[in-house]
């Protein structure tokens, strides 16, 4: 048997508790959402900055090789990774032919790394999407000596594509992507299309 008023008290406590729980949950949700937006905004700022700073131009081309001049307007130690895909983004052309991308100005050999395809994002019409392939993809990391001898000294370095290796992969065109690390994920900040004539 409840005392007189006890039922009302319990009801009020339950309601107050429910309101507190719902209120705190909504606040947490709002703060989490805002935090997520802020985080994405900061990444977007970083990527926009990297995109605006990267200058690519064709420096040399013959029947077998295409060399892309790569220049960073403001020097920084940002490390780039390069990925080479067919233009339909369905085939990783570095899987079978890791020598398709050459950095001739490097004194050290470039490091080829396997990274999860889901952690690599490419740009399509201004928006970032994960690569439409499963498993792992190969990326070539620009050696540190290139960063120190070229990027930090505001000199353009060369990235060359072996066109004969691409043609042996039976594709007529390829897309070279310049990627930067954001935490453990890779985001595209520049691209160059390679056409086989």
């Amino acid at each position: 048997m409840l005392w007189r008023g006890q039922a009302d008290l319990i009801t009020v406590m339950i309601l107050v508790g429910a309101v507190l729980v719902v209120g705190i949950a909504l606040s947490a949700l709002a703060i989490s959402h805002v935090s997520s937006i802020a985080s994405r905004g900061q990444i977007q700022q970083l990527l926009v900055s990297e995109q605006a700073n990267l200058v690519l131009y064709k420096e040399f081309e013959n029947s077998t090789t295409l060399c892309i001049g790569t220049l960073k307007i403001t020097p920084s130690t940002t490390r780039y990774a390069l990925a080479l895909f067919s233009t339909d983004m369905k085939r990783d052309l570095l899987v079978q032919n890791q020598g398709a991308v050459i950095i001739p100005v490097a004194t050290a050999l470039p490091i080829v790394k396997r990274v999860s395809a889901s952690s690599v994002y490419y740009v399509y019409r201004g928006e970032y999407y994960p690569l439409p392939v499963r498993g792992f993809v190969n990326v070539v990391e620009i050696p540190m000596d290139v960063i120190q001898s070229y990027v930090m000294q505001q000199k353009p370095f060369l990235v060359c594509i072996n066109k004969s290796i691409i043609s042996s992969a039976e594709v007529s065109s390829a897309k070279l992507m310049y990627l930067v690390y954001v935490d453990s994920e890779l985001y595209e900040v520049g691209e160059w299309y390679v056409y086989l004539s």
């Binding site: 209120g23 703060i31 040399f60 307007i73």
Partner: protein, 387 residues
């Protein structure tokens, strides 16, 4: 002691908390947007500035006939740094980049041959060897027929045209004359001892004995006399030669607006298998009154190459400068892209060259004199009047 909340106080406290959360969220988003916008503007400005500097890089390639070498100089307004050169399929990285301040030329290359291309620190690529070969061919060809030596031999001054190559040789096919507002006039040139006259039908050499002492043959005082427009009757009698003004040739009222042409008959010989482009350079000296500035005189020059019924024209790019004392100097050039546009210029044919100057002058300006000081033609021969 018990504290009792008054009626509605809980709602107020709850509301304050909710509004705080809302304000925090909005403020965060606002600052994020502001920061993003600022960052975008900064990056855009930096990239635009870089692209502007990149576009301002200009390299001039020339050929030194005496040393048989190519000269690369900075023809732009900003300093250039050369970081790499290519020869065929090989590249050469400069460990110490070569700085090239505006107006200066590179020291000799550290390798035996002229490179095919050079790369600057801003990512510009300039073709050197092919350009130099073109100039070398043109200069070598010109050298065969023009008096003088070196690159300057491509320059045909009024003295060369009138004194050495035209009038003094008495060539009937090589005359030149002027046309002002569609009416033909003679031209005069003073070589220091005699004055020479060329009209649409005749050329003669006269003694300077009766020339007035105050006659100004060199408006810009650079020791090269200019070609002066005159009437044919004045031309015939040295006693009548005077400092004539452009209005006397048919200007409207006190202001001149219209066309002044210098017409060279049979001047340009198109070579067999010639250069990809023919470029004609010129310098015109004007005299104005009324206290105007160079920008008050708008001139649109066109170079015309004509032969029989065929006529090709090219508008010229000009630079105008003035001393403020009424003398205005206009230098310019017009390009005929023979190969790129497959221009129908017949090899081994001789073409007339016309420099057509269309003037529009400001309301306070009186255009008094229009004189020609030099022509230079690169990519074609000057027709040899002695043949």
């Amino acid at each position: 002691m018990c504290i009792y909340l008054r009626k509605g106080q809980a709602e107020v406290v709850g509301g304050i908390i909710a509004i705080s959360v809302l304000l925090f969220s909005i403020a965060t988003l606002y600052f994020l947007m502001t920061s993003t916008q600022s960052s975008l503007s900064t990056e855009f400005a930096r990239r635009a500035s870089f692209e502007s500097e990149k576009n301002a890089e200009k390299i001039a390639v020339s050929y030194d006939l005496n040393t048989d070498s190519c000269i690369v100089s900075n023809a732009g307004a900003i300093s250039i740094t050369i970081v790499r050169a290519w020869q065929g399929n090989e590249y050469f990285n400069f460990n110490e980049p070569l700085p090239l301040p505006p107006g200066q030329a590179l020291p000799p290359w550290p390798f035996s041959e002229t490179p095919d291309i050079i790369v600057t620190a801003r990512g510009n690529i300039f073709t050197v060897k092919a350009e130099c070969e073109k100039i070398k061919n043109a200069v070598t060809n010109m050298q065969q027929i023009i008096i003088g030596s070196g690159i300057a031999s491509t320059l045909v001054t009024s003295e060369t045209l009138l004194n050495n190559m035209r009038i003094s040789k008495g060539m009937q096919q090589g005359y030149l004359y002027a046309r002002v507002l569609q009416k033909d006039y003679a031209v005069l040139y003073y070589n220091g001892s005699k004055y020479l006259c060329s009209s649409p039908s005749d050329k003669k050499v006269y003694s300077s004995a009766k020339l007035p002492q105050d006659f100004t043959w060199d408006l810009d005082a650079n020791n090269i006399n200019e070609i002066i427009i005159s009437t044919y009757s004045t031309c015939l009698d040295s006693a009548k030669v005077s400092t004539l003004e452009i209005n006397e040739y048919g200007g409207y009222g006190s202001k001149f607006t219209g066309s002044v042409m210098f017409m060279f008959k049979n001047l340009v010989l198109i070579p067999q298998g010639g250069a990809d482009t023919i470029t004609v350079y010129f310098k015109v000296v004007l005299n104005i009154e009324g206290g105007g500035m160079p920008q008050d005189v708008v001139v649109s020059p066109t170079i015309v190459l004509s032969c029989g019924s065929q006529s090709l024209s090219s508008p010229a790019t000009v630079t105008t400068s003035g001393s403020g004392s009424g003398t205005i100097v206009i230098t310019g050039f017009a390009i005929f892209p023979v190969k790129a546009f497959s221009l129908p210029l017949q090899p081994d044919s001789i073409y007339n060259l016309t420099l057509d100057l269309k003037f529009v002058v400001g309301p306070s300006i009186d255009l008094k004199k229009v004189r020609l000081e030099y022509l230079a033609i690169v990519g074609a021969y000057i027709n040899d009047p002695w043949k």
